[in-house]
């Protein structure tokens, strides 16, 4: 919100006479003990109309032959009045003129019945909920352009219309960089996977070798003690023979 301050005289003493407005009362009939300059946004709201803020999208993509909903809503400090109006204008790509294609006023929507969108435009908004969206049916390539929504909520009428750009495609293109990122990610991921598997195998093999060597060492000890007892009995008969 941008509040542009303008300053007014305000009395710091109540007037004894009924005046049409505060400032002239102050100057003509009352004795003001002190006068201040106050920027307007400190004054209570009913004194002023403030800016209305309109929201539409920035850009919309669609396929040929499909339908698209262009949304428009607004923010206003005031309650939604019964005289709220929505109007949509269309400016084709490359052209400088814009034509009006939709208007909602007095509770009745008026759609385009002569221009490029006759029979293709439908009002799907809810003015009570501050929604002034329209539905474009059966899009064509010539519908590429800028759509501007302007909403007014009396007495809130000062605001900037908002525009949304429509792009109609034969087929929806892949966003730039998706495939690039995918290929790089997959290859680097494979690399990391191979490294991890290699180290895992080495770790497992090392552990297995370690456990095998421990059991072998245990076996060797047992075999060693048995062998010492072994050769003793055969030695006796040979000695007796000699």
């Amino acid at each position: 919100f941008v509040f542009l301050p303008s300053y007014r005289l305000i009395c710091t003493q109540t007037c004894t006479q009924l005046c049409s407005d505060f400032a002239s009362c102050c100057v003509n009939a009352c004795v003001c003990l002190s006068v201040k300059f106050i920027p307007d946004f400190f004054l209570p709201v009913p004194e002023q109309s403030q800016a209305i803020v309109i929201y539409t999208g920035w850009e919309r993509h669609a396929l040929v032959g499909s339908d698209i909903r262009l949304s428009c809503s607004f923010f206003s400090w005031r309650w939604t009045s019964e005289d709220v109006t929505f109007s949509w204008t269309y400016r084709p790509d490359g052209s400088r003129d814009s034509i009006s294609i939709f208007h909602y006023t007095g509770g009745v929507p008026y759609v385009d019945n002569k221009g490029p969108f006759r029979d293709r435009l439908e009002f799907v908004g809810n003015p009570g909920r501050r929604d002034g969206s329209i539905l474009l049916k059966n899009l064509e390539f010539t519908d590429n352009g800028t759509f501007t929504c302007d909403a007014k909520n009396p007495p809130d009428i000062v605001g900037r219309p908002s525009s949304v750009r429509l792009l109609v495609f034969e087929k929806v293109p892949i966003q730039a960089g998706v495939i690039t990122g995918a290929i790089i990610g997959v290859v680097l991921g494979l690399l990391v996977l191979i490294v991890v598997i290699y180290y895992l195998m080495r770790f497992l093999v090392a552990r297995r070798v370690f456990s095998l060597s421990v059991s072998k060492h245990g076996k060797k000890k047992k075999e060693g003690s048995q062998q010492r007892q072994g050769p003793v009995p055969p030695a006796d008969p040979s000695k007796i023979k000699v």
Partner: protein
């Protein structure tokens, strides 16, 4: 020995620099009024102003972008691995890992250049000639391949 080492490193760095220049500057196709590359198309309009648009979002040009970036990554990794292995390898050992990465980088450049050659008619219109970045990519491929083979054959001495 030191001379040999220096020569090998210089060769590797030359291939790396060529890869960087080819990917970043990338004047891959030129015609009289426009240059087109991996990342954007620039053209001078009739009234003399020069403006650039991002490259088309086709699948093949994204594949070429990815493959060129991967080749740079692998070449950098192989340089790093070379210095690592220089200090940790035993005597008589071979720089297999370094050589593998460098050969992979050269294969990536080759496939990128081939894909671009075959599919460039999709996104460059009219009469055009291949620009110097395209030629640099083709030169980088044998340099990287030779460098990788040298690493595989090289044996570490004391």
């Amino acid at each position: 020995m030191l001379l040999l080492l220096l020569g090998i490193i210089l060769l590797h760095l030359a291939a790396l620099v060529l890869l960087f220049v080819s990917t970043i500057v990338s004047v891959w196709s030129t015609s009289e009024t426009s240059t087109s590359d991996l990342w954007r198309n620039c053209s001078t309009a009739v009234n003399g102003e020069y403006h650039c648009n991002p490259a088309s979002t086709g699948e093949w040009i994204q594949a070429v972008q990815a493959v060129m970036i991967l080749s740079i990554i692998f070449s950098c990794l192989s340089l790093l691995l070379f210095f690592c292995q220089l200090f940790t390898l035993q005597k008589g050992g071979r720089f297999f890992l370094t050589g593998t990465f460098q050969i992979l980088a050269s294969l990536f450049v080759m496939s990128g250049a081939i894909i671009y050659t075959v599919t460039s008619h999709y996104w460059v219109l009219g009469t055009y000639a291949f620009g110097y970045s395209y030629i640099l990519a083709w030169v980088a491929f044998p340099l990287a391949l030779i460098s990788g083979l040298i690493y595989v054959i090289l044996r570490k001495r004391e």
